[in-house]
């Protein structure tokens, strides 16, 4: 790991006080070329996190506020007839940015949601017969309110699967909150902080992450986890092979952040709650257990190969 990344984590930690782990996971997600879903109540710093990452890593940043009347063209852009040149001119929407914050994604209708999610998957936008590539790197941070809040369209499972990770930020600890309350404007502090990285370097890091070694023993462990979720009656639906790929990808990025060129079981365990928490559906008596607790429970049942 380059010193820039350590610097980025440190700086972000200064902005989001007491949320080192969340910052690290978000960075992992970014390095693994995945998209991030933050599920939490309003006001805990979702937007700040997105903004901080974009700023520190020198990426351009767009925010889309999802509402129930949001249309796909509001995200992707719209073709407008240019009377001077007598043709249609495509006006790029807010999605053409390196970091896109899709705020309160579950407030929009499924139609608008899927416009975003398709762009996320394809990393390109096709409209009126023309295809436009999205910038590189392309990183979507979506936030959503807990699904039981009023006026939400919960994301279907297939779309949740598009996010590499789902995390929640949570309230800060008491001392962190005190610092937050006593300190000055966080946004201002961020603007003052120099950019630590450019998008060129970030792409290089992403390529290095892909080269982190995954041993057979670890693949076996990963398979044990997948098999366990498929065989146990606790889960309504086992994990998909895509989930397996996501797990290894995230584990690689985590190991890279841990300054290692090989993945350890610990890396897999560290990213697992965030990576599979939203992909697992429980059934039976496990219904009441929340995502993280569920995954920890699962990990304790599977011995290392």
């Amino acid at each position: 790991m380059g010193p820039e990344l350590a610097e980025a984590i440190k700086a972000a930690g200064n902005i989001l006080l007491g949320k080192q782990e969340v910052v690290k996971l978000s960075l992992t997600c970014l390095l693994a070329r995945g998209h991030l879903l933050i599920e939490d109540v309003p006001g805990v710093g979702k937007t700040t996190l997105a903004h901080t990452l974009a700023h520190l890593l020198g990426l351009n940043y767009q925010r889309i506020q999802f509402t129930s009347d949001l249309l796909p063209s509001d995200i992707i852009g719209v073709s407008v007839f240019d009377t001077n040149q007598q043709n249609f001119q495509f006006h790029r929407g807010p999605i053409f940015a390196q970091v896109v914050l899709a705020d309160e994604i579950n407030r929009a209708t499924p139609k608008a949601q899927s416009a975003l999610l398709e762009a996320m998957e394809e990393r390109q936008v096709t409209t009126d017969g023309a295809t436009y590539n999205l910038p590189e790197p392309f990183f979507v941070i979506a936030t959503q309110n807990p699904s039981h809040q009023v006026g939400t369209f919960p994301l279907p499972e297939s779309q949740l699967d598009r996010f590499l990770m789902r995390i929640s930020i949570g309230y800060p600890g008491r001392s962190a909150e005190r610092d937050l309350l006593a300190g000055g404007d966080r946004r201002a502090a961020l603007e003052d902080h120099p950019v630590v990285l450019d998008s060129q370097q970030l792409s290089e890091y992403q390529q290095q992450v892909a080269k982190v070694h995954v041993a057979d023993a670890l693949i076996e462990y990963c398979q044990d986890i997948l098999a366990h979720t498929r065989n146990m009656p606790d889960y309504r639906l086992g994990l998909s092979p895509r989930a397996g790929l996501a797990m290894l990808q995230a584990a690689r990025a985590w190991a890279f952040l841990e300054d290692r060129d090989l993945v350890l079981p610990e890396d897999l365990q560290a990213i697992l709650p965030a990576t599979i928490g939203h992909r697992l559906q429980t059934s039976g008596e496990k219904m009441s257990v929340s995502g993280d607790g569920l995954v920890k429970d699962l990990l304790n049942k599977i011995p290392l190969p």
């Binding site: 060129d261 090989l262 365990q269 304790n300 290392l304």
Partner: protein, 660 residues
């Protein structure tokens, strides 16, 4: 893999001691008394030591006790080899092993010796009851073995037994197949030069009162199962041996007179039956009067006695054909002379009695009839408790007391006939028998012992004459009742007038006897001959015994070899050396109380271990780093795994944290 630790719980200690005690228990009856007492002493010592650990013997005391046990065994048998001494030594050693069971390994040894001890019981006793007992001990041992191999103790006591039951059920088909097809020795193992006691029945020397002694015994002499219809009670004379000579007191066969000639009778023999003879230590075999041939080709002597070369030292099964219709005209030179010899103490009274008959009779047959009617008309009493005739038994019986038993009637009748010049001989055997309707066979007990005579008449050959029947015809038709009155009182006979309790008791006894006999017939008696005849039924009759043996051994050996091969091949897939080394490392740390959780990654574990033992930071980090590189890194280097093994070997953490 998580291996349970090596110490045993108090309950497991107690269970293994009890199971081993059960396995040994029946041997205390076979070994000499001092050894039995020694075994019991050791067992009590063991139980005491379990309760009060201060009594647990130390190493030296144990060595001394072992030495004492060997010396004791040797002093009792004067050897340490052979069946009896071997079993004595085995039981003593096993009890000593139980005494020193401390760890898991000891317990395995104890259980497996117990399995072996179970087998040795069959050297002494092959009865069904013993087999059932040993089977239940085996089940207990297996359940114990299952229980101690569990990481967590079973929830209920029943659980290991259920598991054992499943294993046993799975094993039964294999056991049956092996039992049926595995090549058998022509003689069972337990008969190799090994004597067994068994009760003795009739002997070849008859003194007055001898049969009366036998009559008190309800022991089974033999059982008979008829293939054809069984003859009526008054025809069921079981011929044992023929006695010719007398000294006026007892009756016997003079050695110099016995000629070992053997017969081949041409008669067909309309009765075909199987005899299950108990050991009686004699060479003659009992058969329905008169035997014609036996399937086992036993020799038939000139006086028509079925004989074996060896005394019957263990129970024996044989098939015989007999005839009750044909006449026995076998006569050898000198035979009739021998059947006329008289002792020196024949009195005047006897001659006069016989003279009276001769004067009135025209033929020998009429003399016989007159003699029988003499017994019938004179006030002769049939009693099981006759007075003792000491000087001249026959004379005293005939003229003074006139109270006697089959042997008195038979001997005196023989002597009177000889005086009359009719060749007569004495036959000993059994008469009658109790019918077991459950198993369709007859039980002949010692109290069915009987003596009768055979007279030689020109026209009919040797003719069976039973003078007892002239006095007490009930003796022949009914069972003797087994209660004895005062001396001289007439014997009572058992009629079929039993009450409900009596008849159900008898029914139960019959059931038990039947189960036993079937056990002996089909399990113990399943011999090489049975095996071959069974194979013939399946069409393997072209095979010689040797070929058959080779084929069965092959059939058993090939699957076993395949299984073994598979085990060997699967054993090739050894875990990687770095895993072995790392597991050893974890075990070493576990001994310090820091055991790795199954899901714990190496880094987390190392962190935790270092947290507990900061003094071991350097070796733990070094080993963990190397292991991680080997196990999870790219391009593992073989020499590195050796290095890891070496490092783990050198890792010898002290039990205590320094400074605490």
């Amino acid at each position: 893999m998580q291996i349970a630790d090596h110490t045993l719980t108090a309950r497991q200690h107690l269970l293994v001691s009890l199971c081993a005690g059960l396995a040994i228990a029946p041997h205390t009856l076979h070994v000499p008394l001092p050894i039995s007492l020694f075994l019991i002493f050791l067992f009590v010592w063991r139980l005491t030591a379990l309760r009060y650990p201060q009594f647990q013997p130390g190493r030296w005391l144990l060595v001394l006790t072992t030495l004492g046990g060997v010396i004791l065994t040797f002093s009792q048998y004067h050897t340490l080899i052979g069946r009896d001494a071997g079993v004595g030594l085995l039981t003593v050693m096993m009890m000593l092993k139980i005494l020193e069971v401390r760890r898991r390994q000891d317990l395995y040894v104890a259980v497996f010796i117990s399995y072996f001890v179970i087998i040795t019981h069959f050297l002494f006793d092959q009865s069904m009851v013993m087999a059932l007992y040993l089977f239940s001990v085996m089940v207990c041992l297996t359940a114990l073995l299952i229980e101690i191999n569990r990481i967590k103790p079973s929830a209920t006591t029943l659980e290991p037994f259920v598991r054992t039951g499943i294993i046993t059920l799975q094993a039964i088909p294999i056991a049956i197949v092996l039992f049926v097809i595995f090549p058998r020795l022509s003689q069972p193992l337990w008969n190799l030069g090994i004597g067994s006691s068994g009760t003795t029945g009739l002997s070849d020397r008859m003194t007055p009162g001898q049969i009366a002694e036998l009559i008190e015994s309800p022991e089974v002499a033999f059982r008979v199962s008829f293939d054809t219809e069984a003859p009526a009670a008054e025809q069921r004379y079981w011929r044992g041996l023929v006695i010719w000579d007398t000294d006026g007191h007892s009756w016997f066969n003079r050695k110099d007179q016995v000629r070992e000639r053997h017969m081949q009778l041409k008669a067909h023999g309309e009765h075909s039956y199987e005899v299950f003879l108990e050991a009686h230590q004699q060479r003659w075999l009992y058969a329905l009067d008169i035997p014609v041939s036996s399937k086992q080709r036993f020799r038939l002597s000139q006086d028509l006695i079925l004989q074996r070369r060896e005394p019957v030292r263990r129970s024996l099964t044989y098939q015989v054909r007999s005839t009750t219709e044909q006449q026995n005209k076998v006569v050898m030179p000198g035979m009739l002379q021998r059947a006329l010899e008289l002792p020196d103490n024949v009195t005047q009274r006897q001659f006069e009695l016989v003279e009276g008959w001769r004067a009135n009779a025209k033929s020998p047959r009429e003399i016989v009839e007159l003699a029988l009617s003499h017994f019938n008309k004179q006030p002769f009493v049939y009693t099981l408790t006759p007075p003792r005739y000491l000087d001249n038994p026959i004379d005293q019986f005939l003229f003074d007391a006139q109270e006697g038993f089959c042997e008195h009637y038979a001997t005196s009748f023989t002597q009177l006939m000889r005086i009359a010049g009719i060749p007569t001989r004495l036959v000993l055997g059994y008469q009658g028998g109790e019918y077991n309707e459950l198993g369709d066979y007859f039980i002949i007990r010692q109290y069915d012992a009987h003596a009768w005579t055979e007279v030689w008449l020109e026209e009919s050959g040797w003719l069976r004459v039973d003078p007892t029947a002239a006095v007490a015809p009930e003796r022949i038709r009914f069972q003797l009742r087994n209660d004895f009155g005062t001396e001289g009182s007439p014997a009572m006979f058992q009629l079929d007038e039993l009450g409900l309790v009596g008849s159900s008791l008898r029914r139960f006894a019959h059931m038990l006897d039947n189960a036993n006999i079937q056990w002996r017939r089909w399990i113990i008696g399943y011999s090489r001959e049975h095996q071959f005849s069974l194979m013939r039924n399946f069409g393997f009759d072209t095979l010689t015994p040797l070929q058959w043996s080779l084929i069965t051994i092959g059939l058993i050996a090939i699957p076993l070899m395949l299984v073994a091969l598979r085990l060997v091949l699967s054993g090739r897939k050894q875990p990687l050396p770095e895993i072995i080394a790392y597991e050893r490392f974890c075990k070493k740390l576990a001994r310090l109380g820091i055991s790795r959780k199954t899901y714990e990654g190496p880094m987390d574990y190392a962190k935790r271990a270092i947290g507990e033992r900061p003094d071991l930071t350097a070796p733990i980090s070094r080993i963990t780093a190397l292991y991680i590189k080997l196990r999870y890194g790219p391009n593992a280097d073989k020499s590195q795994s050796k290095k890891l093994l070496q490092q783990v070997r050198q890792f010898r953490p002290g039990r205590q944290k320094p400074g605490t």
